[in-house]
Symmetry: C2
Subunit: 597 residues, 2 copies
């Protein structure tokens, strides 16, 4: 059965040594986040997920959720008790605002917690995870009354939240939705329609669920511009915050999925449920995008988390499993065979994962820092720069991290040979669970289109221009840095490929948008490689700096440099092919008539 070791040490190293978050210690939240406090919080979080959540991961997968005849849903055995401990520990409010009962810690810490939850138990983590997006939308779009009513119990974890977008005939194209919200005399709306794929849509963990539902009003246009967002609580909430009448929203069925069986993915039927407009009428997509951007980074972390946990287990297996001799002679001469970690191809699979995990975690936390900074940085310029960068990199976090997460989980399963295919060993669950991350919150193809069609060109290309300038400046400043001698050739090449591909898209994507569409996924992965390679350079310098300062954790720090070298010299090789795929354009992609497929 798989295990999970919370990667706390790595998180502390990244937060303090690579990102040096102490430099922000005059800013709100960061003033509380001293190294000691951060270490203590992560330590506790690590214990919690290892002891309470990870042991429920496999059993939750096997048992799944159960819908009863009255539409109620029971989560797998142990989830309810674990959730009670989770809110008892105050984890739901870690990075939520103090004024509504949260602890006000920075987002970077919240993201660390998110990875730990997901690494231990993806299906469980989604119950509080969905709440985070719903809370963001209420915080930013809600009236004071709405905020006072919904935020405190959600931050406390007594209630969870959901996002209701998809209908059977529309996911990406929400303008086609049929759910209707009709205004009532009392100012509320009567919501009618059916939503599908609603994660955590019904469960027994909390006394109430706050559904955020997209619907069209009768007078608005029948397209995406006529979509508004509504709060539809499972139980209506009285003035004093106590629960009132059961609302007209019920779980019609639970989907039988490939994975994340421990999370209830519901068909929700709205039969004239009472709903309350959140934000402006017909501006539902704006509010929904607030939730989606946060959610997309969260989904990216799912890719990382599965890559990490599947890697850890594959390493344990590779050190333990004796099979064949090393190609260069016995390494375990007294045993019947060598551990399979001696074999280059096993190492290749493991290192592909490891060299991704550590850079991805750093990049994810750098983006989390940007999410904080876009709110709290001192100057408007800094806020805008942070906003630009996280907007640009969100498709990479979502699209690239989950594609790699799937690939790495598959390789980790491969290390187990035949045992990897047997459910008892648990490796297939990582593959099945992480698979959804490539699909939901906008498929990875949609992420890539968001990148090339929206993010690249936004504000005259300001975000991409700034990011390229940042890397160019870095390359120039470090050109003679010996520590990076093995790193910079790959970053230089990758960066040139990225520049060329970007230029090609600018020149050829406008006159024929299919040129942008055909190369969009390749471009996203190209940007991902460069972003991760650039991140490895920063990690290596930070590690070397500690070594130079006489830090005693020599193996850990030197291994960082070794693993980064692997990424630069063996993984970034792919940038040329990705650039060539972008530059191949749309011709051969569009050549075949639909009938010819």
């Amino acid at each position: 059965m798989p295990t999970y070791r919370a990667p706390i040490k790595d998180m502390n190293f990244i937060l303090h040594d690579v990102l040096n978050i102490q430099q922000y210690n005059t800013l709100p939240g960061y003033n509380e986040a001293s190294p000691d406090i951060v270490a203590a919080i992560l330590e506790e979080a690590g214990k919690f997920v290892e002891n309470e959540l990870q042991p429920l991961n496999h059993s939750g997968d096997q048992e799944g959720c159960t819908r009863h005849e009255d539409g109620s849903v029971t989560t797998p055995k142990g989830f309810k008790e674990a959730y009670a401990k989770f809110i008892e520990g105050g984890w739901t409010g870690l990075s939520s605002p103090v004024e509504y009962g949260g602890q006000g810690m920075p987002h970077v810490l919240g993201m660390c917690l998110e990875e730990l939850l997901l690494g231990a138990n993806h299906a469980f983590a989604m119950y509080p995870g969905l709440s985070m997006g719903a809370m963001s939308a209420i915080r930013l779009e809600g009236t004071d009354t709405q905020k006072d009513k919904y935020l405190p119990p959600m931050i406390e974890g007594r209630w969870t939240g959901t996002m209701n977008l998809t209908e059977a005939h529309c996911g990406t194209d929400l303008g086609l939705m049929k759910t209707k919200a009709t205004p009532q005399a009392d100012g509320s709306y009567s919501v009618k329609g059916q939503k599908i794929f609603i994660s955590a849509g019904e469960h027994d963990l909390t006394e109430n669920i706050v559904h955020l539902v997209l619907a069209k009003t009768p007078d608005g246009p029948d397209n995406i511009k006529g979509v508004s967002l509504f709060i539809v609580p499972k139980f209506n909430v009285n003035e004093d915050g106590s629960l009132g009448k059961r609302n007209g929203v019920t779980c019609g069925s639970i989907e039988e999925k490939m994975g994340i069986h421990g999370n209830s993915t519901c068909v929700l039927n709205y039969d004239g449920a009472q709903g309350y407009l959140l934000g402006e009428i017909n501006k539902g997509m704006r509010a929904m995008f607030i939730m989606m951007n946060a959610a997309r980074i969260g989904v990216g972390i799912q890719g990382l988390a599965h890559s990490e946990v599947s890697y850890q287990n594959a390493v344990d297996y590779a050190k333990d499993r004796l099979q064949m001799r090393s190609l260069t002679g016995p390494k375990n001469p007294d045993g019947p065979a060598d551990p399979i970690i001696v074999h280059p191809d096993v190492r290749r699979m493991l290192l592909n994962s490891r060299s991704f995990n550590e850079a991805a975690r750093t990049l994810m936390l750098e983006c989390a820092l940007d999410v904080d900074m876009l709110h709290i940085a001192e100057t408007l310029e800094e806020r805008q720069a942070a906003d630009d960068r996280v907007s640009l990199l969100t498709p990479v976090l979502k699209g690239v991290f989950t594609d790699r997460g799937y690939e790495n989980a598959t390789n980790a399963q491969q290390v187990y040979g035949g045992h990897g295919y047997i459910q008892e060993w648990g490796m297939d669950q990582f593959v099945r669970d992480v698979r959804i991350a490539q699909i939901y919150e906008g498929t990875n193809g949609v992420q890539a289109l968001d990148l090339v069609g929206r993010k690249l060109g936004a504000n005259g290309g300001r975000a991409m221009q700034a990011y390229m300038t940042e890397i160019a400046t870095y390359l120039k400043a470090n050109a003679d840095n010996d520590v990076l001698a093995d790193y910079l050739p790959a970053l230089n090449t990758g960066f040139k490929d990225l520049q060329a591909a970007t230029m090609w898209l600018m020149q050829n994507g406008l006159n024929n948008p299919d040129n942008a569409g055909a190369g969009s996924v390749a471009y996203m992965h190209l940007l991902g490689h460069v972003a991760l390679g650039y991140t490895w350079c920063k990690i290596a310098l930070a590690a070397q700096e500690k070594l130079d300062a006489g830090d005693s954790d020599i193996d850990y720090l030197q291994n960082k440099i070794t693993i980064g070298r692997y990424y630069m010299r063996r993984r970034m090789i792919e940038t040329a092919a990705l650039r060539a795929e972008v530059e191949a354009g749309a011709e051969d992609v569009m050549a075949l008539d639909a009938a010819g497929f």
Copy 2:
């Protein structure tokens, strides 16, 4: 629910127009395989798999196999009846020798049937599929008495066969096995031990099962050189061919797997079962390799079959699902949105699959032709050439076809968006089922090692030398061929990358075998690209030749050329990166101590 359309038209085109099998019509088997006969057989096979097997695919996955307390196993509902029709149709003996009751048709036809069975129902296809390997071993290693006793009922399909290699602590490294076979006074052996992962190890489809079991004899060396092969029938067989006493082999449990639930993967316990030596003592691996080579090509076909069926369903969905507008303006202006097949990235995923499927099917059938020719070609030279080529390409068929099959099935699932994750739609089953093909019969990493460590160097590199000469000759001969103007640049580049990578391995793999190991998988995929690109050239020329001859099926033939162009110009881009990965060598792969992982 998914559907399956047997790709009969494509098979006829490949057999007759690309491979021109009529040129062999003086050879045994081929003299029976006129275009009319072949077409009629494929037509019947297609109907059978579409009507009888495909409808049981999803239900078989959902139900799985059931082991009862007495160790007996029930296959999913409908399998038994379908199997009865299968043997009634004579399909089990299609390409088996006439002298034992088979129909003696060429291997190329048998391989077509194999793809059809697997495309319709992988789990079902494995029951007769495993028999094929067992029959080969008995044919080549058995005494006349053994052949007379076992082959006719196996060819008839009344009995099936199995391969028993793996034990809990050894899969790749069979020298570690513990199963013992002790000689008895009557010349038989008493077999004791436990085998795991035995596909079709116990079931209710046939009255008997012929297990081929690897075991060590008491006097042999305790390593791979002390392994012998034994026939252990589930029921002993009397002189007259009737069934005798139940033998001491029982199913201890069925594995709960990620996929292929309709096939019973058994733990088999041998408690002093009566076994009969097959072939020479201590030469069990030789016989086992006969089975494995056939089985590896069969597993490669699994990759192709899943790629094909998942592609077909994804195309249907992409034509049907309306979502968003084309980037270049509405293509379905009267509908609420355009079918998603207008989107370049959806087409990219579909074309990656389609452009693989048709070349892979051709390459597979070309190898099947080699399997025939290595037995029946007129000259020794031709036989050796055929043997060399199929040996060289077997790792590609197994390793590359299944890696691509998994990737393509994953992309086909992706085309469905959220629906792809829901079991009801059936796309996740293709991903789960094809996953095993990367693992069993030697993981794809083991295939790659077989290629670089054994096949490349065998007989002084004769096979690879011949294959490279073949391609070089082809490139030269067709250099001015206008039909291939868009094709040859990629084949030229890919071929140069392959030559360079091969040279690098020769120069650096001997002094440090880890250099060969570290690049082995990349090298296998590089060879795969070149082999498939070369195959596309042959397909395009065949299509153009028919067009020039005035064939009326213009769209079909022109589409072939269009799809091939896609492969050459968008997929073969990867060869440079694969070569670079080979040439990166072992240094960064081996740098980290095991403790550092």
